[in-house]
């Protein structure tokens, strides 16, 4: 159990620390262990999976949905995933699986909102800094799907490229390309020469 907790903590770590830790220890996949524990009936362990993957789901949703809807949708997605966890064939693939659920949920949201009312993303900003953040997020949302998701995970959620690759199941090369091309487009749109 302690070993499980330790490996889970290693996953939560970010940046250089995480990369170096993964090189030194050849630990078994923590997701797989957690998923198996949940399937065996230990629901408390699901909280660990939630804390590990909530930022990923949050980032994926934030790249596609209005911010006011994101928080609740994250919870809904994890509850849905808990119900359907038995359908997950490869316990190691929890990250890509829940990422796909999040993408599908965002698509469903847009499909439904088109049928009903167009949801505006005008959030009551507390200060000008938050407003600036929302403006930049809006610009990021105008980028192609692959770029905006990777950029939000990197710039908003603070995940590194290797982390994004591991959690989403994408190859490191794809993430790297998406990050650099997306960043290039974002720089052009923001006009960095004028300053932020």
């Amino acid at each position: 159990m302690y070993e499980l907790q330790a490996t889970a903590d290693a996953l939560v770590m970010t940046g250089q620390q995480q990369v170096s830790a993964s090189h030194t220890s050849a630990a078994p996949s923590v997701e797989a262990q957690l998923v198996r524990a949940v399937l065996e009936g230990d629901r408390d362990v699901y909280g660990r999976l939630y804390s590990l993957y909530a930022p990923l789901v949050h980032g994926i949703l934030l790249a596609r949905m209005p911010r006011c809807e994101v928080e609740d949708t994250v919870q809904e997605i994890f509850l849905h995933a808990l119900k359907k966890l038995h359908t997950l064939r490869d316990a190691n693939a929890f990250g890509p699986w829940i990422a796909m659920i999040a993408r599908n949920r965002a698509m469903d949201f847009h499909r439904k909102s088109r049928e009903t009312v167009e949801v505006s993303d005008q959030i009551p900003a507390n200060d000008t800094r938050n407003t600036k953040a929302v403006e930049i997020l809006e610009i990021i949302r105008t980028l192609p799907d692959a770029y905006r998701e990777t950029l939000v995970l990197r710039l908003v959620e603070g995940m590194t490229g290797p982390e994004i690759a591991t959690r989403t199941g994408l190859t490191a090369a794809s993430v790297r390309v998406n990050l650099h091309r997306g960043m290039k487009l974002l720089r052009e749109k923001l006009g960095f020469e004028e300053g932020l």
Binding site: P55, L62, Q75, A133, V156, G158, G161, L186
Partner: protein
């Protein structure tokens, strides 16, 4: 290198990326505990329940079918041997679909026996396992029927042979019959 900073925050920091990180960090995920409803059922448990229910139902069905077969077999084994007239009518009933014709030759009670009989001798197993006990009269009658059948078969066979030879146009008794006259 600036790209390395964007990739994994290593190398020389990129001021623009840092600036964006700082601003957009405001929107970062704020940890919030997951509230799992107590009555939330996971699919795995439901699947187990359905699997168990299906297994129980299958066992019950199998047991029921086995008991029914056993009951039928015991009924056949304990029932008295049928008389010869009834056995005859059973074979007729099998070959001829109209029971009215059979009933015309027999008295009224025999007709009711005819209608009930096929149900009792339906099973193949009972036919093969049971050896019918026939009386001497029945055996004589059966031998006579067999002789008649063999005679009919022989006649049919000879007629077929004759027809075949005629169709082929060869008559071995008069081989020069169809030849052209010489001279």
């Amino acid at each position: 290198m600036k790209d390395d900073y964007l990739w994994d925050r290593s190398g020389e920091p990129d001021s623009e990326v840092q600036q964006l990180e700082e601003i957009l960090g405001e929107l970062r995920y704020q940890s919030r505990p997951l509230e799992i409803p107590a009555d939330l059922k996971t699919g795995g448990k439901r699947f187990n329940f359905y699997a168990i229910a299906a297994a129980v139902a299958m066992i019950a069905l199998g047991l029921g079918a086995w008991l029914a077969i056993q009951k039928q077999e015991t009924q056949i084994a304990t029932s008295p041997q049928s008389p010869s007239a009834e056995v005859k009518t059973v074979t007729r009933e099998d070959s001829k679909p109209a029971p009215v014709i059979a009933a015309a030759d027999k008295p009224a009670p025999a007709v009711t026996e005819i209608t009930r009989r096929p149900v009792r001798v339906k099973s193949h197993r009972s036919r093969t396992t049971r050896t019918p006990r026939l009386s001497s009269e029945e055996i004589a009658e059966a031998v006579a029927a067999k002789d008649q059948l063999m005679m009919a078969l022989r006649l049919t066979s000879s007629k077929l042979n004759y027809a075949q030879k005629k169709a082929q146009g060869s008559n071995p008794a008069t081989p020069v019959y169809h030849q052209h006259k010489i001279g």
